[in-house]
């Protein structure tokens, strides 16, 4: 046993045993991520291609026109066995080839490229606001525990937590666009360059933020109350360390642990929320592209978008778990 090891053991609490434990955990988590990636690809393929009966007839719509059925059969290579199609499709994915649309004959990649900007903008704005707002609300409620501000924040976050985005959004549009006339009701007419029209982004981002903020703020509040009542916070106060310093440097990092674990769930909500919000505010992003493809039963476009959404979720989940693990080395998170 070398001196450095002993030192590490007494110092930061990262002994050798713990170090290998962490490494093993990261490897396991990465393996799970790889498994999830494969599962997403298989699931998307199975769901969209495992049509009962003749897929081409089913996809051609209510009045199957023989020419269209033949075209679909040709485009999807339905004459080949399913496993060959899966291999060809998955092989294409590896090279970034997502196939071509049934409806327009354009490559699926162009659909993605067109919708990417607005969706990324929405997601980036939401995430940038999500963490400061939810931590702020949670800490504020925890500081005023049991008093009016806390009761207000706790009830509001609990209430809004489960409200579907479309209902909340439509009510906000009624108030802010119809009654008050402050904000535009939809993003119609602004094209994909939404950054030039910030007013059109206010309501979508607000609606997108609602649920994740509520869930994270509640967890931060609960964690903060626990942390502030803990012996180490009391000890820090006994040393005469300033209240704000105890709160933000000592208690907050521990209070964030459960919130970090919840981040993964939040990602699921954000991906779903983006689809709804884009439909509601007519924003030409990936969600709108997906909904149009679903309406037209444009299988290659649906597959491509589903893979992109699914893999985004897998990667972000992986990241959230790694972050959560960083905050709480002791608690074993997923896998």
């Amino acid at each position: 046993m070398s001196g450095t090891e002993a030192l590490r053991g007494t110092g930061m609490g990262t002994g050798t045993a713990h170090g290998t434990g962490l490494r093993a955990w990261v490897v396991r988590r990465l393996l799970l991520g790889a498994g999830q990636t494969v599962a997403v690809v298989l699931l998307v393929f199975a769901l969209t291609e495992a049509l009962p009966g003749d897929a081409a007839v089913a996809l051609a719509g209510d009045q199957p026109d023989p020419a269209r059925v033949a075209a679909i059969r040709e485009a999807l290579h339905l004459d080949r066995p399913a496993h060959e199609r899966l291999v060809a499709w998955a092989g294409g994915l590896l090279h970034g080839d997502l196939g071509t649309s049934l409806a327009s004959g354009r490559p699926v990649a162009t659909y993605l490229a067109n919708g990417f900007g607005p969706t990324l903008l929405l997601a980036a704005l939401t995430v940038a606001l999500l963490i400061p707002v939810s931590v702020g609300l949670g800490v504020l409620a925890a500081r005023r525990e049991g008093r009016f501000a806390d009761r207000l924040i706790s009830s509001a976050t609990l209430g809004v937590y489960a409200v579907p985005e479309f209902a909340l959004g439509v009510l906000l549009v009624t108030v802010f666009a119809l009654n008050l006339g402050w904000l535009p009701p939809t993003a119609v007419g602004y094209g994909t360059d939404l950054l030039a029209h910030p007013a059109a982004l206010v309501l979508p981002v607000l609606v997108l933020l609602a649920r994740p903020v509520c869930s994270l703020a509640r967890l931060v509040r609960a964690g903060m109350i626990d942390a502030l009542a803990s012996p180490y916070a009391a000890q820090a106060r006994r040393y005469g360390i300033a209240g704000a310093r105890v709160r933000y440097l000592h208690a907050l990092p521990n209070a964030l642990a459960p919130a970090a674990q919840q981040l993964a769930r939040t990602i699921d909500w954000l991906l779903c929320g983006v689809i709804v919000v884009e439909a509601l505010f007519v924003i030409p992003g990936l969600g709108t592209v997906l909904m149009n493809a679903v309406a037209e039963r444009d299988v290659p476009v649906i597959q491509g978008l589903a893979v992109v959404f699914g893999l985004t979720a897998v990667v972000l989940n992986l990241g959230a778990d790694l972050v959560a693990r960083r905050f709480t080395p002791r608690a074993a998170v997923a896998a």
Partner: protein, 287 residues
């Protein structure tokens, strides 16, 4: 520390308020169809007044009648989806918590871990694109996406209960597996499961309504609150009631549901967030 009576009274106040917020949409949803009456003649689209006190919708139907009819599908689909999810998740979770065979647990839970990463609405949309499901299909899909998470929570709760000394004692007394699993482990996990069922029901309600809003599992002109919001949006500036009424009912149902479950579960004894119980040391420092 507050006197117990005040906390208790506040608990009852919250409970009553939550009950009121949930009760109105729930009553309309369940009993509304009884009072809806026969469909009247269709009027012009998006008008106000003219015998329709809440106006007409996008195809000229009476909005109030549609509101009375439109809650039942949302509520019943959500209830059956939640029940269905537990029917599968309960045996899965209990079995993997109580088994002594590591491979069986892995076999049961690993596939669910893999599924957990797929966004739930995406899965529903994908299936909907191909199968065009009805209300029953939607309930099935929503139940399906809820199984992984429910099974994980059940497994974690049951595993904790199964590791207690009491189970050891039962085993040494030679009690049957069934008595241990259902009689002890199941019973001690009940409280956590009740809390989970509450949040899950509101989550399912959210998914069902959102899917219906996006056109999954419903006819385009169905009497359904979520469909009403979607289809009448075009007339929002002419006839807001056709959108606002169903939207408010959905908000009240989900919001009230969450408040109700929270009040019901925290009101009796335990609280989910620890109440203030000032440690002596902390008090000293404060003053």
């Amino acid at each position: 520390m507050k006197p117990r009576t005040i906390t208790a009274r506040r608990g009852w106040g919250r409970f009553a308020l939550a009950l009121l917020i949930t009760g109105v949409p729930l009553l309309i949803a369940l009993l509304g169809p009884l009072f809806a009456g026969e469909p009247g003649p269709r009027g012009a689209s998006f008008t106000l007044g003219g015998g329709h006190w809440a106006g007409t919708d996008f195809v000229g139907r009476d909005v109030w009648r549609q509101v009375l009819l439109g809650g039942r599908t949302v509520v019943l689909t959500a209830l059956s989806a939640t029940a269905l999810a537990y029917v599968v998740a309960l045996p899965l979770g209990l079995m993997s918590a109580l088994t002594h065979r590591g491979w069986l647990e892995e076999l049961l839970m690993r596939p669910l871990d893999v599924l957990l990463a797929v966004p739930s609405l995406l899965l529903i949309l994908l299936a909907a694109a191909v199968f065009s499901p009805g209300a029953a299909g939607l309930a099935l899909l929503v139940a399906l996406v809820n199984i992984p998470d429910a099974a994980r929570i059940i497994r974690a709760t049951a595993a904790e209960a199964a590791a207690r000394p009491a189970v050891e004692a039962l085993r040494m007394q030679g009690e049957s597996w069934w008595r241990m699993a259902v009689g002890y482990v199941g019973r001690s996990a009940l409280r956590t499961l009740a809390a989970d069922a509450g949040t899950r029901l509101t989550g399912v309600l959210y998914l069902v309504a959102t899917a219906a809003f996006l056109g999954v599992g419903v006819a385009p002109d169905a009497a359904d609150w979520a469909v009403m919001v979607d289809r009448n949006r075009t007339g929002l500036f002419v006839q807001p009631w056709a959108v606002v009424l169903p939207a408010v009912l959905i908000v009240a149902l989900t919001m009230g549901g969450n408040l109700l479950f929270d009040a019901a579960l925290t009101g009796r004894g335990q609280r989910r967030t620890p109440r203030r119980e000032p440690l002596p040391a902390r008090k000293e420092i404060r003053t």
